[in-house]
Amino acid sequence: MIRKLIIAILIIISYLCQTTFNRGISIGNITPNLLIILVCIFALLRGKKEGLLIGFFCGLLIDLFYGYADVVGFNSLIYMYLGYIAGIFHDVIYTDDIMIPVVFTAASDLIYNFVYYILSFALRNKLEIEIYFKDIILPEVIYTVFLTVFLYKIYKLINDRLEKYERRKEQGDLYGSGDIGDTI
């Protein structure tokens, strides 16, 4: 329960930072993709299910207000699959290395922007992909990767605390001392 609440708060904070405080965090008109960082890191830390669920809700939040041509669902779909794919590697990869989330976020952001470009620009016959790649995609990926390094530490700390708390609660349940956790 408390995990869901904290993750919901993290999603909303990321969304608000990206949209409301975007002028504060953007460099040269390029805003980093905080939501994709959140999705990737938690997918790597927690696995497929949490990755895809966080991805779905992040995408839905963007879709509801900034869906391309007011269509809801595209962002949810892309974010969800990115979360799922990153989550597959949860069991395979040792996640203490900072390079892993960095590589995954970079790849995810690239894929996301590329798909978004195809859906919203290439289909309108705007085909100068080199220009868009150079001016929009690459700066965003670089900035996003830069932030991943810092946010990974914070998210990992939050996740470790949550896991510790959950373990303690589970043990409490096991020995029949009731729901001590729920009283917090």
Binding site: T19, T20, G24, I30, K48, Y66, D70, F74, S76, E163
Partner: protein
């Protein structure tokens, strides 16, 4: 570690289920853009107050920082402005005389005052598009404040864009520099028509593309562009910007160039929504 006795569904099934949900949502909103309006309104009733509050906090900080920076600059500017006031006072008496004359002539010709002030509502920008592909933002006024789709939005003295989506307490503004946005415009001096269309590749230089200018049009760099009468979304006479770099197209029938908009799109905080819709004469 995870030996919970709770029944849990495998991730694969959730993925399939949510994929179906997403596809359903896409189809639903493709058919009817307003299908999810209740959900959007519900989410925005929670988020909009938070965004408003955050914005105020952010603005307070930036105001304070700005104030410290700008004191000396302001003094200098004050001096300059005083000089300007003197010269403007002079010309304003002249203009008021001309205005009187114009009024009399208008009465004579029974012309409507088309450049009259449009009724406006002020609104605050509370969030901007999360990605870098489009230039859209959300303002804190919606249907409850009488905002409707296609109402024009201005900031300062220039055109910003128009309302493209309305919720109960928020609405989405698509700006004229947005990549898929076209405005029918005309030159203020010569009344030559043209098309102003946003372009992502020009956004960084704060320019918009202008095309379809007649080859015979007598236009020069620095000419004013305003919204035209034939536009079906924009009320006429709103300043868009100033033209530059006009070149002949290869077809030898039209010219095209760039417009520098009067609005600085990177720092819009407050906007005015013109609550009068363009009357197009067709239902």
């Amino acid at each position: 570690m995870k030996k919970r006795s709770r029944f849990s569904i495998p991730a694969k099934y959730i993925l399939i289920f949510l994929t179906v949900v997403c596809t359903g949502l896409i189809i639903l909103t493709l058919v009817n853009h307003k299908a999810l309006l209740p959900v959007q309104n519900a989410v925005s009733t929670v988020l909009t107050p938070v965004q408003k509050g955050l914005n105020q906090v952010g603005m307070w900080f930036s105001d304070k920082a700005e104030a410290l920076k700008e004191i000396s600059k302001l003094q200098e500017e004050n001096e300059k402005l005083r000089e300007e006031i003197d010269s403007l006072k002079n010309s304003s008496t002249l203009t008021s005389q001309m205005k009187n004359e114009l009024d009399r002539l208008r009465e004579l010709y029974e012309l409507d005052n088309i450049y009259d002030d449009y009724p406006k509502v002020a609104a605050r920008v509370i969030s901007a598009n999360s990605g870098n592909w489009f230039s859209e933002f959300i303002i804190d006024k919606g249907k409850d404040d009488g905002i409707e789709v296609d109402m024009n939005v201005i900031a300062g003295s220039g055109l910003v864009g128009r309302i493209t989506y309305v919720g109960d307490n928020y609405s989405k503004v698509t700006t004229i520099i947005n990549d898929d946005h076209n405005v029918s415009a005309k030159f203020a001096e010569t009344s030559d028509n043209c098309i102003v269309s946003g372009d992502l590749t020009l956004m960084e230089q704060n320019l918009i593309r202008v095309s379809n200018i007649n080859i015979d049009a007598q236009v020069a760099e620095g000419d004013k562009l305003v919204t035209s009468y034939i536009s079906d979304k924009y009320v006429p006479g709103i300043l868009i910007g100033y033209v530059s770099d006009i070149t002949d197209d290869s077809n030898n029938l039209t010219k095209s160039g760039y417009v520098t908009p009067v609005v600085d799109f990177t720092s819009i905080e407050e906007v005015l929504v013109i609550t009068q819709l363009k009357v197009t004469g067709q239902e």
